[in-house]
């Protein structure tokens, strides 16, 4: 065991102060951070727990936007009436993340801040042009996810909410790794302003929009023939690059079919 300080701030303002003054590591649901700490792959001197901040929990409807606050768990998103009514695909996505333990601890803010290259939420953010709100600013999703495990967040910046447009025409299709439930490949398909959106996760290098696939879908072309850059994909012990690329076309087609 090594020593660190655990802080449980009572307000966002206090959390910000602790993070900047004590060089604290923000802790949300801990579904990635805790295993990393356990393996001693990171040894921060202080943890600042954001999960008790009521001001960061819940879902609000702001005009035509569904705003999910940062420390809201996947289970709460999956069962939330506002989400189910105004953006049902998002509830569906949240209900399939990990296992029940992960869904009752993991949060949307933690997921997008971590930007795991196989995480589910980043696809919905990209496909739906979400805005990621922080304690300092609001960042469009297309500028937020910069590369695997990398985001536009500055040091100590906290994700306070993710704002999605209301959307009835969306579907999340996931081909999960049967052990981890991470996406081997998953595609979030949506119709936004009459245009098809396809966002892909699990390729290996981070979430991306498959724009050639979107164009093929809008022009009545075939996804099987649409260009797909190999640069988005890597192979590992679970699946080769070629398999993931093939799976992307298959899963994207299933998502579009479900979209109708």
């Amino acid at each position: 065991m090594y020593e660190f300080t655990y802080h449980r701030p009572g307000s966002l303002e206090e959390a910000r102060k602790l993070i900047s003054e004590d060089d604290g590591q923000p802790l949300s649901g801990g579904q990635t951070l805790m295993p990393v700490l356990r393996a001693r792959l990171a040894m921060p001197t202080a943890l600042v727990d954001l999960t008790r901040l009521e001001e960061l929990k819940g879902v609000n409807l702001e005009g035509d936007r569904v705003v999910i606050l940062g420390a809201t768990t996947h289970a709460d998103v999956a069962s939330n009436a506002l989400v189910r009514e105004h953006c049902p695909a998002l509830a569906e996505l949240a209900s399939g993340i990990g296992d029940p333990q992960v869904r009752y601890r993991g949060t949307i803010g933690g997921s997008v801040a971590n930007n795991d290259p196989a995480a589910c939420y980043p696809t919905a953010c990209l496909a739906l042009d979400a805005e990621i709100r922080t304690d300092r600013r609001s960042i469009p999703a297309r500028e937020f996810f910069t590369s695997m495990f990398d985001t536009a967040l500055e040091h100590g910046e906290i994700v306070t909410a993710v704002s999605f447009p209301t959307c009835q025409h969306a579907h999340y299709e996931k081909f999960p790794n049967p052990a981890s439930r991470f996406a081997l490949i998953a595609v979030f398909a949506a119709k936004l302003g009459g245009q098809t959106r396809l966002a892909v996760t699990g390729g290996g290098t981070g979430v991306f929009r498959w724009q050639e696939g979107e164009q093929a879908a809008d022009s009545g072309g075939s996804l099987a023939a649409a260009a797909l850059s190999e640069a988005y994909f890597t192979g590992d012990l679970h699946a080769s690059t070629e398999y993931r690329m093939h799976l992307t076309r298959v899963i994207a087609q299933r998502a579009l079919t479900a979209l109708g």
Partner: protein, 196 residues
């Protein structure tokens, strides 16, 4: 596990070879590199503070060049220790081919991972290695371009292209760039640690 990549550098193979054997330049281009020393004509040693997502760990490693064919390439044997994370070792072939407007650097690395890392699967290894390689060669390319007085040949490759497959010509060139690969592998290795 095989990792490969190809990058365009805005200089001739001779200059690229020299740069790849310049520990100060390499250190400046390698994110998190705390120490990088040339301990013999054909050997480098160093430490890197690797940060990938929530992982933050220090690795030490060494790199030995074999089958040197300056300035055309070499084979590099590397190994690294990451404490609790485990170790990685392997070898890489690096080639420098003269192409229009500069040099095409390509590498193929074969790495083995052991210790606790090996128990966890390799979901994130390749992606991490690639992203580190791109970061390294991006800075490296800019550094070389800058030295050439900001010529157009240099600026064109300020944003280096990562090409999936290496170019054809089998001339062998190499350099300590594989250090980068080595480190990338190490980091990757440790990075995928929390995947399960």
């Amino acid at each position: 596990m095989e990792i490969k990549g190809s990058y365009h550098l805005p200089c001739d193979p001779q200059r690229a070879w020299e740069a790849l054997n310049d520990p100060e330049l390499l250190k400046a281009c390698l994110k998190g590199c705390e120490r990088l020393e040339k301990t013999a004509d054909d050997r480098f040693e160093g430490t890197v503070q690797a940060k990938v997502g929530p992982v933050n760990a220090r690795f030490s490693g060494s790199l030995t060049q074999t089958e040197i064919n300056a300035p055309h390439g070499c084979t590099m044997v590397f190994e690294g220790q990451g404490g609790v994370a485990g170790f990685a070792k392997g070898q890489a072939d690096v080639k420098l081919d003269a192409v229009d407007g500069g040099t095409q650097l390509s590498y193929i690395a074969d790495a083995k991972i052991g210790g606790k890392l090996a128990q966890m699967g390799a979901r994130l290894v390749e992606g991490t290695a690639r992203s580190m390689a791109e970061d390294f060669f991006g800075k490296f390319s800019v550094a070389l371009g800058g030295e050439h007085g900001g010529g157009t040949a240099g600026s064109r490759s300020d944003v280096p292209e990562h090409v999936a497959e290496g170019a054809a010509a089998p001339a062998r060139f190499g350099s300590s760039s594989i250090w980068l690969v080595l480190v990338a592998v190490l980091m990757a290795v440790l990075a995928f640690y929390w995947l399960a």
